[in-house]
Symmetry: none
């Protein structure tokens, strides 16, 4: 194996997954850690990646942290991190789209071993970096607004799935009216996702609490977990304390 080939291999991994662990590279390339470290060092000097303890990261990925929208972003990261505690090894998880879920896809533990079904291309792309996660993208018509697949074909496929946990972002949630939405197709889609899972969790930034829209997706009783960026004890959430609903 030529040095240049190793370098190319590393860059391919970086472009694909935004990161490499140097322990992985040792195995994959069959060379000593020293060699890997020197390779990464050299690539870092050429500005092709940025080296960190234990591996290296893509430069672009690094800079993607300086989002101007730090505020909402923080909340979503917080929500995503809380949500990871619901996902255990071996689970089959079904997810929708939306920024909260996409953030979740970035925050999962490194060697999670699970199966994800998703209707969101963005989520699929995000999940691709986990070596032990099997990703199935559910195909169908692609919605220009919601950026997820939807329609009869998707619903058919969902009927064949039996997931352990369904995770959805939400447009609106309300103590009485439950989960609501404005788009009929997306509404149908979310209902089908509920039906295909044993349990359901809603990722919900606090702005969307106490809002009610035209179309009902599910009532609070059908939801098992509500994950917000707020403290689970906070008064804003009092109205949601239902027997079956766990708040975190």
């Amino acid at each position: 194996m030529l040095k240049k080939e190793r370098h190319d291999f590393v860059m391919r991994q970086i472009n694909l997954h935004n990161r490499v662990l140097n322990s992985d590279l040792v195995q994959l390339l069959n060379v000593s850690e020293d060699t890997i470290r020197r390779d990464l060092q050299e690539l870092a000097e050429n500005g092709q990646l940025s080296k960190v303890h234990g591996g290296a990261l893509s430069k672009s990925y690094q800079s993607s942290f300086d989002d101007s929208d730090v505020y909402a972003k923080d909340a979503k990261v917080c929500i995503a991190k809380k949500t990871t505690s619901l996902i255990k090894d071996g689970m089959v998880v079904l997810t929708g789209g939306g920024t909260s879920i996409i953030e979740l896809a970035k925050q999962l533990p490194e060697n999670l071993n699970a199966t994800f079904f998703t209707v969101s291309p963005f989520v699929a792309i995000g999940l691709a970096k986990y070596a032990k996660v099997e990703v199935i993208l559910i195909g169908g018509l692609f919605s220009k607004n919601s950026q997820v697949t939807y329609g009869g074909h998707v619903i058919n496929q969902l009927s064949e799935i039996n997931a352990d946990l369904c995770l959805l972002g939400t447009s609106a949630i309300h103590p009485q009216n439950g989960l609501t939405d404005t788009d009929w197709e997306i509404n149908q889609l979310k209902k089908a996702m509920f039906n295909s899972s044993k349990k359901a969790g809603i990722l919900c930034i606090s702005e969307k609490l106490d809002i009610s829209l035209r179309l009902k997706v599910a009532s609070l009783e059908n939801i098992d977990y509500l994950i917000t960026e707020l403290d689970p004890q906070s008064p804003e959430l009092n109205a949601y304390r239902v027997k079956t609903l766990q708040i975190l």
Copy 2:
């Protein structure tokens, strides 16, 4: 053994395997290391390969994952623009993934009215901006390497599709060996895509011409359009002038 013969031999090896070790060449050609070194040096100066410590690598192989390659980017835009001329209103188009196709998705005419089936989430996302284009993302297992959906489920769905035009990027194309690839699953996928379309077009940056890989996808006869960034009349393309193949 004449110098020219050695050079040809080396280039054949490079095209076949994307790499040569100079220790191998010493054995195979029965000459001294110095001679090999001088040969490789000469070929490198002619731009036919790129020499590295211990051997040499194919130029195209190099740049295939080097996204700092500005030329390649330009070329892909050029290819994408040429390709748009093949897509007419009302058509049903089936596309693969890869940077060329993703670029194509950005370059379509604004109010194109067509239906696109694709296995690439990136392409679906790119196509979402065209109001009159219906986008269907074909679902299935998501490949971490190729970033497209693949596998039996995808192939089943492809069998139900009858598209007017199939557009694929390519890993390698060769006058005799046709379209080839290295990954078996992707190979199967591409074959299925050919079978689901009346016509097929290959988007191919010139670096990937005259290269042959392990697995055959299709021969030139099965391809209807070859789109490169080169002038259709350029001598590099002479070998591809087959009755059924339109070059643009």
